[in-house]
């Protein structure tokens, strides 16, 4: 197995040394590695150290992504369970930062998982609560809002 180490530097100067296989989960790095000389640290301007460390932690667990037809149910369940615990510990603000960072790093797997986590978090919330979370201003008049609510009344059933 390749034991090439890649050095990443976060925006606030923290350094992380990781296996090449892990680094390859971040497609932005794959492109940078092709341009970069071996051995130099890769600067990640848009990710702070605390977020990068979390992302690396996740990437390390998912380095050997099982294929869809993989029969190993046990391994899948363990990984899912680890993923769930990973997200549980994080507050919403951190998860948002992870989404931004995963998007920047082009780390599809984590972006999808984090987005799903936020989706699960907001799915039962009211529109007002959602506006608060995303800091969105309500630009509907009360009449307009009422009309849309009426059309979709079934979603407001208790």
């Amino acid at each position: 197995m390749s034991s090439n180490k890649i050095l990443l530097t976060s925006s606030d100067g923290e350094s992380f040394e990781i296996d090449e296989a892990v680094a390859r989960k971040f497609l932005i790095i794959v492109h940078m590695m092709e341009d970069n000389c071996a051995g130099e640290a890769i600067p990640l301007e848009n990710v702070t150290g605390d977020i990068l460390s979390k992302i690396i932690e996740y990437a390390k667990m998912h380095v050997n992504e099982p294929s869809e037809e993989d029969e190993d149910e046990e391994a899948k369940k363990n990984l899912d369970s680890w993923d769930a615990k990973f997200m549980e510990k994080l507050d919403l603000e951190t998860i948002f930062k992870i989404i931004l960072a995963a998007n920047y790093l082009n780390f599809e797997g984590l972006l999808g998982f984090a987005s799903q986590t936020v989706a699960d978090y907001i799915k039962d919330k009211t529109p007002e609560e959602v506006r608060e979370i995303f800091n969105i201003e309500n630009d509907f008049t009360p009449e307009e809002e009422e009309e849309i609510r009426k059309e979709n009344a079934w979603t407001f059933n208790e």
Binding site: N103, K123, I136
Partner: protein, 438 residues
């Protein structure tokens, strides 16, 4: 670190202490918000239409509809409609989607009209809506919300009304095409009283149209491709020749498209039209395990039929159910469904490039279906998201939000399955429970 409390509803921008933390949240660009929206269940997406105008526009956009995953990824967009025992005076329809991970209940509704004894009924799905015709009763349903509109009665005194449904994306119009036959008429008598109803148009009535080709509709389904509805009919001397009719929504023109290929003129099975990569296709089964898919090529005014795909299913142990091709997915796989279900709801996907089969099940954990059950229709690759208003009235009927799955035919047990969409759980109960819900 600001704590979120579910009990306290705070006002926007009211807490200066946390305004700095709040800034992090605005940084989420809208395309990442879309990543989140795409993974929400339908109910939530519908509810969040009122969050802001930007969200409403996003959710209603065709791009969003295409990429919407319904809360889980790589899901086949097949729709199953289950309808109850036809002895019920008002048939109930339940829409759900077989999913790899969890059952996806969409909605249910009670048809406003009595299930007729002698007429046939016609279901069509086009671009997110489903039309149902029972004699002169015609409704158009939105399976996402379970709401429907009732069309005015077609202009006829006859009871045997055949209907088709189409959508034209250029004019963004849905139209229902109807024609009638005499209930006890001669088998060689052509259909007549052809008429069209345009949804949402100012003129809320049926427009009579001419059809120069005498014909009798002969397929129980139709396909709508690029604003043209195609269906199979018998034409000619003695109503013998099977051909393809076309109804163009842009011109309201109904005429003959082409004759069916010789090889399938005398097919024993019912004809079923599908959309294969944007073309009209007819699957045929020369024998139990072999499927031929005939595709109609229309190029430069010339029409020809090509037997594009042939595949064979290996007979499986213990699986002797007749499967028919019910459509294709947006990825080019064929969807096969049985004509009746016993233990579970499922469809098969056949991938012609890899010559592979897989079974997609509707999850019903812990439930034993102890009777022969029939899902009325299986729709394939159905565009699910249509949240616009179409002057809708009517609503779903279940009191507790559960829906009831019951068989078409009962054997020994009079069992009924209750599905709770909120907990995604099934439970089986005796039929007396019906009374609670009426």
């Amino acid at each position: 670190m600001r704590r979120r409390s579910k009990k306290i509803k705070t006002e926007n921008n009211s807490n200066p202490e946390t305004s700095e933390e709040r800034n992090k949240f605005d940084e989420i660009p809208h395309d990442l918000v879309i990543e989140i929206l795409e993974r929400l269940p339908l109910k939530s997406v519908a509810r969040f239409l009122t969050v802001s105008k930007l969200w409403a526009t996003t959710i209603r956009s065709p791009d969003f509809r295409k990429s919407y995953r319904g809360g889980s990824s790589s899901e086949p967009r097949t729709l199953i409609v289950s309808d109850l025992n036809f002895k019920e005076p008002n048939p109930k329809l339940h829409f759900f989607r077989p999913s790899i991970s969890s059952p996806s209940f969409l909605s249910s509704l009670t048809c406003p009209f009595t299930y007729p004894r002698h007429e046939e009924y016609y279901y069509h799905h086009v671009n997110g809506l489903i039309s149902v015709g029972y004699g002169t009763d015609q409704i158009v349903i939105n399976p996402t919300t379970g709401k429907f509109i009732t069309l005015p009665r077609p202009k006829t005194r006859r009871k045997l009304v055949i209907s088709f449904f189409g959508y034209d994306s250029v004019s963004d119009q849905y139209k229902v095409l109807c024609m009638t036959e005499r209930l006890r008429g001669h088998p060689e008598e052509a259909s007549s009283q052809h008429q069209v109803y345009t949804l949402g148009a100012k003129q809320k009535s049926w427009k009579m149209i001419n059809c120069s080709i005498p014909h009798r509709p002969w397929s129980w389904n139709a396909v709508c491709i690029n604003g043209v509805v195609y269906y199979i009919a018998k034409t000619g001397e003695g109503m013998f020749r099977r051909c393809l009719m076309r109804f163009d929504l842009k011109s309201d023109n109904l005429d003959l498209c082409t004759i069916l290929p010789e090889e399938i003129q005398t097919s024993l099975h019912d004809y079923f039209l599908i959309n294969y990569k944007g073309k009209v296709a007819i699957p045929n089964q020369p024998n139990f395990y072999t499927y031929d898919v005939w595709v109609m090529n229309q190029e430069g005014g010339k029409i020809e039929w090509l037997k594009n795909i042939t595949f064979t299913i290996k007979p499986r142990k213990g699986f002797v159910r007749y499967l028919f091709v019910t459509g294709t997915t947006h990825t080019g796989e064929f969807i096969l469904a049985p004509t009746s279900y016993t233990d579970e709801f499922y469809v098969f996907h056949y991938n012609p490039d890899m010559n592979s089969f897989r079974k997609i099940r509707v999850q019903a954990p812990g439930v034993k279906f102890s009777f022969a059950q029939k899902a009325s229709v299986v729709f394939s690759d159905h565009s699910l998201l249509r949240l616009d208003n179409l002057h809708i009235r009517g609503s779903t009927h279940t009191a507790t939000g559960e829906f009831i799955l019951a068989p078409r035919f009962y054997s020994d047990d009079l069992n009924v399955i209750h599905f709770n969409p909120d907990t995604n759980s099934f439970r089986s109960t005796k039929v007396e429970v019906y009374e609670d819900y009426e």
